[in-house]
């Protein structure tokens, strides 16, 4: 039986196990939307801005390990997706973005709402397609999902002209792929694994740098066994938080620009770094020339192009983290590393980065910690970008696998609300907290309507400092306190929530924090808390840009910034 392109799309999505699509319609996708009623098993969530659709699909993907799907019309719909696609690309989240395109006869003629979205998204997708023949559609969708979800995951965009959506052809969903050049190495090379094990067995001061690759590979058990067997302390990249229990004795927390002092000290003094599923981002390494000066480096990653990109690696192991760690666990010896671990403990005491100062002020660190206490870590935390993100990374204890969802690579303000929406849709049984910046929240605030329309119970905690806080902090520390255009006039967020039919409260004092969190948790639906936090609170420690990780500044170490403060 012949089917239209639109029907083929829907049936192929179902074959791929898609349950939810985030999107907004428009002229170039009307034939697709017109067929949705024939496929009630596909839930379409109508967002209020396509950026929201892409971030929601991204959030959904990060917690379900399946490609998140978003859809937009041609032209402005497609360009609005761009930030969300770039974000998923940087953080290796699987996504299939579907865009409508003007009809094939007018492509290239600057037709109404025509944009070259495949051209635009070449550098921010793992691959993309313009489908000009309906006979190619099913095959293309199959390839797109395969590419998005395997190897190092990422976004794939499929641009479908309107006439292709309407044309008919026989529908057969291919069961074989024809991708001769696309190879995924899953098992690490045995010789490399042996070499890595040798270095690990010989190391006296080893440190693991755990990245999101561990989470993507769902290698929590293998990783825990690995760290415990050889007593390897674990530092995390921002996105690696949630790969290892944050309350474990071997856990050091996050390294990098806002890394916990003992994590940075351990990395800088290590004789061996075992980097797993991470890419040596500059926010994690600080100055690369002074990074871990005495360490030999093992780098485990599924993407061969990551090896040696930023840091010279002695033993690369290309493969899927889970499979590589399983093999390594057989090869490594039990070790104690007593002296090294007690040295690290000493740094932990010397530089208590996580201590929250006693104060009557409403401190964001305290709020985050109270969200942890109230949930006992049994929640998924989605953050914005900026100070709120760093406080969330530092002061929540990520004991649950994959419990931090944050935009690390691109860092787009406005990620928080739509991503939290996608996370909650993907994992409805979980408590989902959205830690928002007052600035970032206003970049995608319109998705409050989506929460209400679709009944998505996200708990929103705005860290309202009345500033583009992270930028203000840089102005304070590195631009002589000249606060140029970082002060925000803000609307009444509680009233705004109310207008969207979402209850909310404002918290100004410390003693109101716990009851407010309790109230939000007890309420069955979405809930907003506007925390009026200490406006000029800073994120510490901070490694000044371009400096080595050892030169972290915190108020107890004024010499680091010296005359600059």
């Amino acid at each position: 039986m012949k089917k239209t392109g639109a029907q083929i799309l829907c049936e192929s999505l179902i074959k791929e196990g898609v349950e939810v699509i985030f999107g907004i319609l428009g002229g170039a996708v009307l034939p697709i939307y017109d067929t949705f009623p024939q496929y009630p098993q596909l839930r379409h969530i109508l967002v209020r801005h396509e950026q929201g659709a892409a971030h929601a699909a991204d959030g959904y993907a990060r917690v379900t390990h399946k490609a998140g799907v978003c859809i937009a019309t041609s032209g402005p719909g497609a360009t609005n997706l761009v930030t969300g696609i770039a974000c998923a690309y940087m953080d290796s989240a699987p996504m299939v973005a579907i865009t409508g395109q003007v009809a094939t006869p007018v492509i290239g003629k600057d037709a109404f709402q025509e944009t070259d979205i495949t051209g635009i998204t070449i550098p921010i997708t793992k691959h993309n397609y313009l489908v000009t023949d309906v006979a190619e559609l099913a095959k293309t969708i199959k390839e797109a999902f395969h590419i998005a979800q395997t190897g190092r995951p990422g976004p794939v965009l499929i641009d479908i002209p309107r006439d292709v959506q309407q044309e008919q052809t026989d529908f057969v969903y291919p069961d074989k792929l024809d991708l001769p050049s696309y190879k995924v190495v899953s098992r690490g090379h045995p010789a490399q694994i042996k070499k890595a094990a040798k270095l690990i067995n010989e190391a006296e001061q080893p440190v693991i740098i755990a990245g999101r690759g561990i989470i993507i590979s769902q290698a929590y058990d293998e990783f825990k066994k690995f760290a415990e067997k050889a007593q390897l302390p674990v530092a995390h990249t921002l996105l690696g938080l949630g790969s290892f229990p944050g309350n474990h004795i071997l856990d050091l927390g996050m390294l990098g620009m806002h890394g916990i002092a003992c994590a940075n000290m351990a990395v800088q003094n290590a004789d061996l770094l075992i980097a797993i599923g991470m890419r040596f981002d500059d926010r994690a390494t600080g100055n690369t020339r002074e990074f871990a000066p005495n360490a030999r480096v093992i780098h485990i990653d599924i993407d061969p192009a990551e090896i040696g990109k930023n840091i010279l690696t002695e033993v690369p192991v290309v493969g899927d983290v889970k499979s590589v760690l399983t093999a390594l666990n057989e090869e490594i010896e039990r070790r104690e590393h007593g002296d090294w671990l007690s040295q690290i403990e000493q740094w932990r005491h010397e530089y208590p980065s996580l201590e929250i100062r006693q104060s009557d002020e409403l401190l964001p660190q305290y709020i985050i910690h109270q969200i942890y206490e109230a949930t006992q870590g049994d929640a998924l935390l989605v953050t914005g970008v900026g100070q709120n993100q760093m406080w969330a990374a530092q002061h929540f204890v990520y004991t649950k696998p994959n419990s931090l969802i944050s935009a690390g690579g691109l860092g787009p303000m406005g990620f928080e609300l739509p991503a939290a929406m996608g996370v909650k849709v993907g994992r409805p049984e979980e408590v989902v907290w959205c830690v928002a910046g007052d600035g970032g929240f206003q970049m995608t605030i319109q998705e409050l309507a989506t929460l209400t329309q679709e009944n998505i119970a996200v708990k929103i905690a705005i860290m309202n400092n009345g500033y583009l806080g992270m930028v203000r902090q840089w102005q304070e520390l590195f631009y002589g306190r000249r606060y140029v255009d970082t002060k925000l006039w803000n609307p009444d967020f509680v009233k705004i929530a109310e207008a969207y039919d979402i209850p909310g409260i404002r918290v100004k004092r410390r003693e109101e924090v716990i009851p407010a969190i309790q109230k939000a948790m007890e309420y069955p639906g979405a809930f907003l808390i506007d925390f009026l936090i200490e406006p000029e609170e800073n994120v510490y420690p901070i490694v000044p840009p371009g400096e080595s990780l050892a030169r972290f500044f915190e108020p107890s170490r004024p010499e680091v910034l010296g005359g600059k403060l």
Partner: protein, 167 residues
């Protein structure tokens, strides 16, 4: 960063799918990673549906290796290798339109003969010369002809294959 930090000329050879947009994906990748392509030549290969591309780029070995790996990740790139260190044959074709007067014409033709190049067009004020060879040969001929005045020049850029039965 490690590797040889000296910038040298590298020859990359890629087998790519002959589909719309593929060239764009490849050049976009060079641009995005801040690499200058010195020359790029593309045309048919022994496989129907696949083109062979020869790219000459300048960089240190580590940088070029990074670009090679990134190219290898492109779905439309079947295979890509850096054959700089390998035993290879490389050729370039150039068309050179050189000024010619009654008095210089025979001298030009003599030079062309020595280089085993061909005259492919004769006009009242000019000769068009076709030369094939490695870059050095093309450069030396060009050097000699420039004394007469080169009006137009078009070079294909290098194409290359490894020697012998290796692939």
């Amino acid at each position: 960063m490690g590797g040889k930090l000296t910038n040298t000329k590298h020859t990359l050879v890629a087998l790519v799918e002959d589909k719309p947009g593929v060239l764009n994906r490849i050049t976009s990748l060079f641009r995005r990673r801040s690499f200058n392509i010195q020359s790029l030549a593309v045309g048919g290969s022994e496989h129907p549906g696949l083109s062979r591309m020869t790219i000459v780029a300048v960089g240190d070995s580590a940088q070029i290796e990074q670009v090679r790996k990134q190219l290898d990740k492109l779905i439309n790139v079947i295979k890509v290798s850096d054959i700089t260190e390998e035993d290879m044959v490389d050729r370039e074709l150039a068309l050179i339109k050189v000024k010619a007067t009654a008095s210089t014409r025979s001298e030009i033709m003599q030079i062309v003969g020595i280089f085993r190049a061909n005259i492919v067009d004769v006009a009242p004020g000019s000769l068009t010369v076709e030369v094939t060879g490695d870059e050095d040969k093309v450069n030396s001929l060009l050097g000699l002809l420039s004394d007469f005045g080169v009006k137009e020049l078009s070079r294909t850029g290098r194409i290359a294959l490894t020697r012998g039965s290796s692939s």
